[in-house]
């Protein structure tokens, strides 16, 4: 469809745009920014006065639960939820059931996403067979099938030699490696940050060192192998420092943070609130500040949802036994934008961390609004107040600590490949 969106405030960090401009779409591509030329006759004209226009969001870590756990969520339910929240591309870790380690699985997932017609899915292939950390997968075949990288999801590869070989092998074919860098021994059966909350509540703890040891190992292995690596879900200030050093040495390594680690701390757990049970855990205010500074300084370049939909029941259990994770698609932009609205981060930094940077890491063409690029974009009203509840939450997961709370800022329209995929 040919569409013109007029008078919106465009933020497109990749092209240095942060001002009110018209944008025009022809078929599935961006036709023009500003003047589209005399001949352009849009089928639809949208007035976006007072609203923002951002590139479609690229969520670097989201679980859709299909295949294997369709009782929790499906590709249809979650890509629709993504579209409603302005997320037009989803990168999915391979921890489905079974795990993503065959071309057939990759094709099946992409076919279902195409049939649903909301957001694109870019799967990550398994790094080791069954994510067991024992044996490499057919990575090159998975890349050919459409995987944008390989990952062992949240299962750390305990064997450092195998990890080194996995990186060597991946680097042969320029396959990016997505890592959850933590030491499984130090991680243990921990469920909260090791600090005053774990001490007060008597819960098994995850020390900071579980992450800093893992990050240090993986940086060292990147240095010896030259593999292009992305460390998922950084939670400690000290990990940010390690990433900074690695960047200063020009190592091909990037990092991301889940939006809830930017907004919450261990204190939010209060009296065993299982909705704040996440891995990596919510840590201290100092860590929270370190993560925000990491984004400001470019040491962390991506904000993701770490979307993990669960039924409500799975959170109604004692803390150690409750399900881990937050259903975060619906709130990703709203929460991330609150950092820009409160002046904690520049608007361009927040938007780049949601669009351009993750697109680059995953090798995608989208994530920016340059002429000729895919017409993936969204219209956002930062002033709208809304409540996350059964009528507004599109994900099938109900495990959000913001459920029942009033939030500010909402996506009004999402365009994916020139098609309007969300307009309530």
């Amino acid at each position: 469809m040919d569409i013109s969106i007029l008078n919106g405030h465009l933020i497109d960090p990749a092209n240095g745009i942060n001002q009110v401009m018209d944008i025009h779409i022809s078929q599935d591509r961006i036709k023009a920014i500003g003047d589209p030329g005399q001949d352009f006759k849009p089928e639809r004209v949208i007035d976006a006065k007072g609203r923002y226009i951002f590139p479609g969001i690229v969520d670097l870590c989201a679980r859709l639960r299909e295949p294997g756990e369709e009782h929790k969520a499906t590709i249809l339910s979650e890509t629709r939820a993504a579209a409603s929240a302005g997320i037009t591309s989803l990168i999915c870790p391979p921890d489905t059931l079974p795990v993503i380690e065959t071309p057939g699985m990759v094709h099946m997932i992409q076919d279902r996403a195409n049939a649903a017609g909301y957001s694109d899915i870019y799967p990550l292939g398994a790094l080791t067979s069954g994510l067991k950390g024992e044996k490499l997968t057919d990575m090159a075949t998975l890349q050919d099938a459409g995987c944008v990288g390989v990952s062992n999801a949240l299962e750390p590869v305990e064997n450092s030699l195998l990890m080194r070989r996995a990186m060597q092998y991946a680097s042969t074919y320029d396959i990016p490696v997505f890592l959850a860098s933590w030491d499984p021994w130090l991680q243990g059966n921990g469920v909260v940050h090791e600090g005053f909350i774990s001490t007060l509540l008597g819960l098994p703890a995850i020390p900071e060192a579980a992450e800093t040891v893992g990050v240090a190992r993986d940086i060292a292995l990147v240095e010896t192998t030259g593999a292009s690596a992305h460390i998922l879900l950084i939670s400690c200030e000290k990990s940010v420092s390690r990433l900074r050093e690695a960047r200063q040495r020009k190592l091909p390594i990037t990092g991301s943070v889940a939006v809830h680690n930017l907004l919450c701390t261990e204190s939010d757990i209060g009296e065993f609130n299982t909705f704040f049970k996440v891995i990596p855990p919510l840590r201290t205010m100092q860590d929270q500040e370190g993560l925000i500074q990491g984004l400001a300084g470019g040491d962390i370049s991506v904000i993701c949802s770490d979307h993990q939909p669960h039924s409500l029941d799975s959170k109604l259990a004692p803390f150690s036994e409750a399900a881990t994770g937050i259903a975060g698609l619906d709130t990703l932009l709203t929460l991330a934008w609150s950092l820009a609205r409160n002046g904690r981060l520049k608007a361009e930094t927040v938007i780049a961390a949601l669009t351009e940077n993750p697109a680059q890491i995953a090798g995608l063409e989208c994530g920016n609004l340059a002429v000729g690029k895919p017409a993936d974009l969204l219209v956002f009203d930062e002033g709208v107040s809304w409540t996350l509840d059964n009528t507004t939450m599109m994900s099938r997961g109900r495990n959000s600590p913001w459920f029942g709370h009033e939030l500010t800022g909402k996506v009004l329209l999402t365009i994916k490949g020139g098609k309007i995929v969300w307009e309530p």
Binding site: F196, G202, D268, E271, P318, E321, P401
Partner: protein, 325 residues
């Protein structure tokens, strides 16, 4: 992000459940202790019952085995004339099978007025309390490593029988603080009552990170740790901690942290010796000290009944309306 409203208070700030010592006022604690004091002589009477809870049903729901705690709760409830049902339940750790909340709601549907709950998971009592109707009361009889608030109350009650003024007392807690729900509750209670100094003593592997944030000091040895101490509280060392992961051996542990006549000599001459039980003789405490004249370990057990009666009476007094009105 959220304001945390403690589950154990109702909207008027009145104590509805007894889940944790944390956040209770000194008045609440002394109120419970004073009433408990008036119940102490009850056990010596010919007729040991008062009708405070007549017609009420108390369910002792223990997902973890216990004899002494469950028994004292049962006696306490019966002396208040309540009907008592003991349930030693088992539960699955996963979402398969009946969940802990399903079990509790099923029993609540049989018109239970009060639950006394013990579970292996920290936070289980809070979870249960926050999913029951307003008129049901919950007492935490130990949740994981979190708290064992009635034990702490009977401990401070026992201290108060012998020492009047907490602001003059130096108290040491020795052993496995990390896994101890008793220690966490004791530390809160002693701090709320204004204890002059609380020290925890043990190897670093058994001391939680940032323990100082709970308002205690850490000492790594008995000689310094027990200096000028008025009350020594020994904690039980679970045999399963003895697998070489947290402490190298029983011998090394007992030599450094066991309470013997010799190590007790580092404390004040009249120091009291306490232990929440059950005791591992020769592992954390020698028999001569456990059975010696400075030990109040059996007093603790006796006092458990009066203190638990007082806590139950306290909660029932706050019961605004029952299902029948």
């Amino acid at each position: 992000m959220h304001a945390n409203v403690p589950v154990q208070f109702d909207h008027n700030g009145k104590l509805r459940h007894f889940l944790t010592i944390q956040g209770l006022s000194e008045e609440t604690l002394t109120g419970i202790l004073d009433i408990a004091h008036s119940f102490i002589d009850f056990g010596k009477r010919e007729i040991k019952k008062i009708p405070l809870m007549r017609g009420k049903t108390v369910v002792n729901l223990f997902f973890e085995p216990s004899t002494r705690t469950r028994t004292t709760f049962e006696i306490a409830a019966k002396r208040l004339s309540a009907d008592v049902v003991n349930m030693n339940a088992t539960r699955m750790s996963t979402t398969k099978g009946e969940t802990i909340l399903d079990t509790v709601k099923t029993i609540e549907a049989m018109h239970t007025d009060m639950f006394v709950v013990r579970d292996r998971a920290s936070g289980a009592a809070q979870l249960i309390a926050s999913h029951l109707p307003d008129y049901v009361r919950v007492i935490n009889a130990g949740d994981g490593r979190h708290e064992h608030p009635t034990q702490a109350m009977l401990d401070v009650f026992t201290i108060r029988q012998h020492r009047q003024d907490f602001s003059k007392l130096r108290i040491a807690i020795v052993g496995d603080i990390l896994h101890s729900r008793v220690a966490r509750s004791q530390i809160h209670a002693l701090n709320i009552l204004g204890t002059r100094e609380i020290r925890v003593i043990g190897p670093r592997t058994l001391i939680p990170t940032d323990i100082e944030t709970m308002g205690v000091g850490y000492v790594n040895n008995m000689r310094d740790g027990l200096e000028n101490i008025d009350v020594v509280i020994m904690l039980r060392i679970q045999r399963e901690r003895m697998d070489g992961q947290l402490i190298p051996s029983e011998q090394e542990y007992f030599a450094r942290y066991g309470l013997t006549e010799e190590t007790l000599g580092f404390a004040k001459p009249d120091a009291m010796v306490m232990h929440p039980g059950p005791i591992n003789r020769g592992l954390e405490i020698s028999s001569s000290v456990a059975d010696g004249n400075r030990s109040v370990i059996l007093d603790q057990v006796t006092n458990g009944i009066a203190v638990r009666m007082s806590i139950m009476a306290h909660l029932m007094g706050g019961q605004e309306k029952s299902r029948w009105t």
